[in-house]
C-alpha cells in the first residue's frame, strides 16, 4: 500500500490570513486536528495543529478578560503556524511504512502529502490506523487464524496450497517474527466463507506448524 492509497484526499485547507478563532472553530466543528495552510494554487505554507493553539495558562493568566479577547481576535493563522520549511511531508508514491516511520521517528501526528509542492492530501494517524484495519481484513467477515511456523523457505506456501486445494482464499495476510521466540514466524490470515472447525481441521494437518489462535470475526 502506498501513501496515495490511504491518505485523505482534499483535506480542509486554510489561508495565512484566516483569524485564529476561525481556524479553531473549523477544527472543532469538523473534528480534525491538523490544518495545512495553503497559498495560491494549494502550495503548502505551513501547518496548524491543536498544540499550536494551546497557549500557556500562565501567559493568559497575566491578561484580563478584555485583553485576552483582544489578543485572540487580533491573531491570525500566520502568527502561530509551523512554517513550511519545518513541516515534515511525504509524497503520494511513498510506501505507508516509510511514512509511518517518519511519523514515529519525529513523534508527529500528520504528514501533508505533496506533489510538485502542491497539497494533494494529508496522511494522519487515523488514516494509518484505518489502513492497518484494512490490511488485516477487518471490513470483511471470516475466520481469523494465527499460525506459527519455523523460519524457513516454503512454509507459507504449504498453507496457501492447503487452502487453494480446498477452494478457499484469503482476504488479508500479515506476517511478523514471533515475539520472544527466535527462529519462528507468525502469520495472521483471514479466510472468508468458511467455518472455524473446518479451518482448524485443514490447517492442523500441516506438519511443523501450529495454530496459535483461531476465532470467527464478523
Amino acid at each position: 500500500m502506498l501513501v496515495k492509497d490511504c491518505m485523505t484526499r482534499h483535506p480542509t485547507l486554510i489561508s495565512t490570513n484566516t483569524p485564529l478563532t476561525e481556524a479553531q472553530r473549523i477544527m472543532v466543528e469538523n473534528k480534525i486536528r491538523h490544518l495545512p495552510v495553503a497559498g495560491s494554487g494549494k502550495r503548502l505554507l505551513g501547518l496548524v495543529t491543536r498544540q499550536r493553539l494551546a497557549f500557556k495558562p500562565e501567559f493568559l493568566a497575566s491578561l484580563n478578560v478584555w485583553e485576552i479577547t483582544r489578543y485572540l481576535s487580533s491573531m491570525t493563522v500566520k502568527d502561530v503556524m509551523l512554517k513550511a520549511n519545518h513541516v515534515h511531508t511525504t509524497e503520494p508514491e511513498q510506501t505507508v511504512e516509510r511514512a509511518a516511520k517518519i511519523m514515529t521517528d519525529k513523534k508527529i501526528g500528520c504528514l501533508p502529502v505533496l506533489e510538485d509542492g502542491v497539497i494533494i492530501g494529508i496522511l494522519t494517524e487515523i488514516d494509518l490506523l484505518l489502513s492497518y484495519q484494512v490490511m488485516l481484513g477487518l471490513p470483511f467477515s471470516g475466520v481469523r487464524v494465527t499460525i506459527r511456523m519455523p523460519d524457513r523457505l516454503g512454509e507459507l506456501a504449504k498453507i496457501t496450497k492447503v487452502l487453494g486445494d480446498n477452494q478457499l482464499g484469503v482476504v488479508s495476510i500479515g506476517a511478523y517474527p514471533t515475539p520472544r521466540k527466535d527462529g519462528f514466524y507468525d502469520a495472521v490470515l483471514k479466510i472468508p466463507r468458511v467455518d472455524q472447525e473446518r479451518i482448524r481441521q485443514l490447517l492442523s494437518q500441516i506438519e511443523g506448524q501450529e495454530i496459535v489462535e483461531l476465532r470467527v470475526d464478523e
Binding site: T8, R9, T12, I26, E29, K31, S40, G41
Partner: protein, 700 residues
C-alpha cells in the same frame, strides 16, 4: 475497496454542507425567493444528484455555491459551508482562490466554456500555469496525461487543435479534463450530458463515475433526466418549485419514493425494462407555480393527489423518516404508491395493439437524398471537379399503414430529419420512390398539389422558433384552415376553439400570444396547428425532447389520443429509445443515413438485434438503479456522411465485427435478413448469431 471506503466516509466532515439555504432575486417591486429550504451534504467520493423540472431552482443552488448569482441575487438565509468555511459573504481574493483551486464547474454547453479562438492546449495549460505556477513544459505534460485520463484519442495532437475541430462529446471531455486539472475537492456539473447523443452520454457518464472513484472528488450532479441521475449518483435530492422535497440514497429514491412529487415524476418517465403495456405514462396535473406566486402551504399541494386541509395551511419541513430518507410531506407515512389510482379526469390513451386495415398510407422505396457540397478550390469554383456529395439518406425503404406510428431513432446526424424533410417536401429527393396515398411525392414542394400539402403536416422540435411571436394562438391555428379552405370562413373560430379544447387548452387561449405560454402549451399549439387541416399524416420531429418529463408525458398521451380519434398516421422522430417504444407501432433504427433495423416496436427491443440497436439500448440511461444493462460502448465518432465507410456503414464501430468469420466481408453491403413478418435487420451476421445475444436490459 468500496466496503472499506464506506467504513469512514460518513464520519468525516462533508466537503460541502448546505443548510436551510434560501436564495432571493431583487426585482422591480420586491424580491423573489427562487430557492428555499434546501439542505444537503456531500462527502468525499460521493455524487449528490439533484433532479427536478426546469425552473425549480437546481442551477440557482449551484450558482449560490460559487456566488455567481448576478447583481440582483443574494443568499437570503442559511449557510453554505465548504470544508468548514462559510462561503456566504466571502468575496474578492479568497473566493477567487477557492473557486480556482478547490471548486470546479462543468456546464451543459462545452462551447461556452471553451474559448473558440485559442488552441485547446493553451487553454488547458493556462489552468496550471496561472493557478499552480507550473512551467510551460511541465504543464503541457500534465495536460496530455489528463486528456488521456478522460480517454481522448490522440491526446497530444488534440492539444494543438481549436475547439471547433473536435466533436461535441470530445469538447465535453476537454472541459471535464480542464475541471479536474487542479484536482478540485468539489465538482459541480450542471446538465453536462444533456446536449450529447445517448452513446456519447453513456461514455461520459462512465467517465464521471470512474473519476469520482479515482480522485475522491465530491460531485454535485444536476440533471432533469432521472435515468442519468440513477446512473451516476450515490444520493439524490428532488427539487420542486425551489424547495427540496425529498432526499435519499439512490436506491431508496427509485425503489421507494416517499414524496408524492417523486412518485409522480417516476410515473411519467417511460421505462425500458418493462413491457409496453406497463409503460403507460401518467402526467402530473397542473404546472409548477411561478416563484412569485407559490401557495402558502405545501408547494406541491395544488398538484398533489393526496392533498388534505393541513397541506394547504402549513408548509411541511424536510424531516427524516425511519427508512433514512428526508421528506417534506405531512402524510408520507400514510401514502402507499402501490395503491395509487390515476385520477378520474385523466384520460389515458389506449396503447393496446390496434388493428389497422393494413393499407399503407405512405410507401417509401429506395429513397435517397444527397446534398452537393461546394468545394473551395479553384477547380471547384470553375466547375471542373465533380462536386462531393453528402449522402444524408441512403436507400430508405418502409411503409406505414393507416393509423399507425413509425418511430425513427438514431444518433444526431444520422439523417432522421432529412428523411422526414424529404417526405414532407422541404427537400426534393435524389433517387427512389415515395408515394403518399398513391401520389408521387419525390418532387419538391412547389410541384405538389394543395390537397396533398394539406394531408401532410409537421410538428417541430422547438415551438418557439416555429411560431410567429406577434400572432395570437388563434390566428396561428386558423391559418392552415384559411389556406386550405377546410372550414367555411364563419366557422373557423369555432373550429379553432374546438381544437384548443381537444388540446386541453380552453377557449381563453385564443387571444394569447406565444410568449404568454409555457413550453408545453406552445407545443400543444404546435400540434393543434398541425392538425388544423385534418391531415392524413403528421410528421413529428422530436416534439417532446425539449420538454420536461411531466409535460412530455402529457404531450405524448395527447398525440396518442389524437391518433386514435382522427386515425392519423404518425412519423415520430426521437433520439430517446424509451419514448419511442411507448409511442410507436413500428420502429426504424437509422445509422449514417441507412436504416439498419426496422420492425414492430416490441421486436426491436428484444433479440435478435442489429449490433447498433444493441449498442443504443445499452447506452440508454434507465431510471432504475437495480436494472442490469449490458455494457457496450461504441468507440470513435460517427464517420462523416461525405465519405461514409464502404459496405456496411457501421463496420468501423461495430462491436460485433470480431465475431464474423471473415471480417473483410464488412466491406460489402450486408443483406437484409427477415426475422419475422415486418422485422428486418441489415447485417452480415446470420440470424442465428444475432438471436444468441442476451437481452440488453434485465430488470429484477
Amino acid at each position: 475497496m468500496d466496503k472499506t471506503k464506506k467504513m469512514r466516509n460518513r464520519d468525516d466532515a462533508p466537503v460541502i454542507r448546505i443548510h436551510d439555504l434560501a436564495v432571493a432575486y431583487k426585482v422591480r417591486g420586491g424580491e423573489i425567493e427562487a430557492v428555499q429550504n434546501v439542505s444537503f451534504d456531500i462527502y468525499r467520493g460521493e455524487t449528490q444528484g439533484i433532479v427536478g423540472e426546469s425552473g425549480c431552482g437546481k442551477s440557482t443552488v449551484a450558482w449560490a455555491i460559487v456566488n455567481f448569482l448576478g447583481a440582483n441575487g443574494y443568499v437570503k438565509r442559511g449557510s453554505i459551508k465548504f470544508m468548514g468555511q462559510d462561503l456566504v459573504g466571502k468575496k474578492g481574493e479568497d473566493l477567487r482562490r477557492l473557486r480556482g483551486d478547490q471548486i470546479a464547474m462543468v456546464y451543459q454547453d462545452p462551447m461556452q466554456a471553451l474559448n473558440p479562438s485559442m488552441r485547446l492546449g493553451d487553454q488547458l495549460k493556462e489552468v496550471l500555469t496561472v493557478h499552480r505556477g507550473l512551467s510551460e513544459s511541465k504543464a503541457s505534460k500534465h495536460c496530455i496525461e489528463m486528456l488521456e485520463r478522460v480517454y481522448m484519442p490522440d491526446a497530444a495532437n488534440v492539444m494543438n487543435r481549436y475547439p471547433h475541430q473536435i466533436s461535441g462529446g470530445q469538447q465535453q471531455r476537454v472541459v471535464i479534463a480542464m475541471a479536474l486539472l487542479n484536482n478540485p475537492a468539489l465538482l459541480i456539473m450542471d446538465e453536462p450530458t444533456t446536449a450529447l447523443d445517448v452513446t456519447v452520454e453513456a461514455a461520459v457518464l462512465d467517465l464521471i463515475a470512474e473519476l469520482r472513484r479515482d480522485f475522491d472528488t465530491a460531485i454535485m450532479y444536476i440533471s432533469h433526466n432521472l435515468g442519468v441521475v440513477a446512473r451516476v449518483s450515490t444520493r439524490v435530492g428532488v427539487m420542486y418549485a425551489g424547495e427540496m422535497v425529498e432526499r435519499a440514497t439512490v436506491e431508496e429514491i427509485y425503489k421507494n419514493p416517499q414524496h408524492p412529487y417523486t412518485q409522480g415524476l417516476i410515473r411519467c418517465v417511460p421505462k425500458l425494462g418493462s413491457d409496453k403495456s406497463s409503460s403507460i405514462l401518467y402526467p402530473i396535473r397542473g404546472r409548477v407555480p411561478p416563484p412569485d406566486n407559490r401557495p402558502s402551504g405545501c408547494i406541491f399541494a395544488p398538484r398533489c393527489d393526496y392533498v388534505q386541509e393541513l397541506c394547504r395551511e402549513d408548509r411541511p419541513r424536510l424531516r427524516q423518516i425511519p427508512s433514512g430518507s428526508w421528506v417534506a410531506c405531512h402524510f408520507t407515512e400514510e401514502i402507499d404508491p402501490d395503491q395509487w389510482e390515476p385520477p378520474e379526469d385523466l384520460v389515458l390513451p389506449d396503447i393496446s395493439v390496434r388493428e389497422g386495415n393494413g393499407k399503407a398510407v405512405l410507401e417509401v422505396k429506395g429513397l435517397k437524398k444527397y446534398y452537393q457540397v461546394p468545394g473551395s478550390s479553384l477547380k471547384d469554383v470553375l466547375g471542373l471537379k465533380k462536386p462531393s456529395l453528402v449522402k444524408a439518406v441512403e436507400d430508405a425503404t418502409f411503409s406505414v399503414p393507416k393509423g399507425k406510428t413509425l418511430g425513427i431513432v438514431g444518433e444526431s446526424g444520422c439523417g432522421k430529419s432529412t428523411l422526414v424533410k424529404t417526405i414532407i417536401g422541404l427537400e426534393d429527393s435524389t433517387a427512389g420512390e415515395a408515394t403518399f396515398l398513391g401520389f408521387d411525392i419525390t418532387k419538391d414542394l412547389s410541384a405538389r398539389d394543395q390537397q396533398l400539402i394539406k394531408e401532410l403536416q409537421m410538428v417541430f422540435q422547438n415551438p418557439d422558433s416555429t411560431m410567429n411571436p406577434s400572432f395570437t394562438v388563434g390566428q396561428q391555428i386558423a391559418r392552415p384552415m384559411h389556406l386550405f379552405k377546410t372550414v367555411p370562413k364563419k366557422q373557423v373560430r369555432q373550429e379553432v376553439i374546438k381544437l384548443l379544447r381537444a388540446m386541453r387548452l380552453g377557449a381563453n387561449y385564443y387571444d394569447r400570444i406565444p410568449r404568454q405560454l409555457s413550453g408545453g402549451e406552445k407545443q400543444r399549439v404546435g400540434i393543434a396547428r398541425a392538425l388544423a387541416s385534418h391531415p392524413e399524416v403528421v410528421l413529428c420531429d422530436e416534439p417532446v425532447s425539449a420538454l420536461d418529463v411531466s409535460v412530455q408525458a402529457a404531450i405524448l398521451n395527447l398525440l396518442l389520443e389524437v391518433q386514435s380519434e382522427f386515425g392519423t398516421t404518425l412519423l415520430f422522430i426521437a433520439h430517446d429509445l424509451s419514448v419511442v417504444r411507448y409511442f410507436s407501432d413500428y420502429v426504424a433504427v437509422m445509422y449514417l443515413g441507412q436504416i439498419v433495423e426496422i420492425g414492430p416496436a416490441e421486436a426491436i427491443y428484444k433479440p435478435p438485434y442489429h449490433p447498433y440497436t444493441e449498442a443504443l439500448l445499452s447506452a440508454v440511461p434507465i431510471p432504475d438503479p437495480s436494472a442490469k444493462q449490458k455494457h457496450i460502448r461504441l468507440e470513435g465518432t460517427v464517420p462523416s456522411s461525405m465519405n461514409p465507410p464502404q459496405g456496411c456503414r457501421f463496420h468501423t464501430r461495430c462491436p460485433r465485427r470480431e465475431m464474423l468469420a471473415d471480417p473483410e466481408i464488412c466491406l460489402t453491403l450486408p443483406p437484409w435478413r427477415d426475422v419475422s413478418g415486418d422485422h428486418r435487420i441489415f447485417c452480415h451476421h446470420s440470424l442465428e448469431t444475432l438471436s444468441q445475444f442476451d437481452p440488453v436490459i434485465t430488470t429484477t
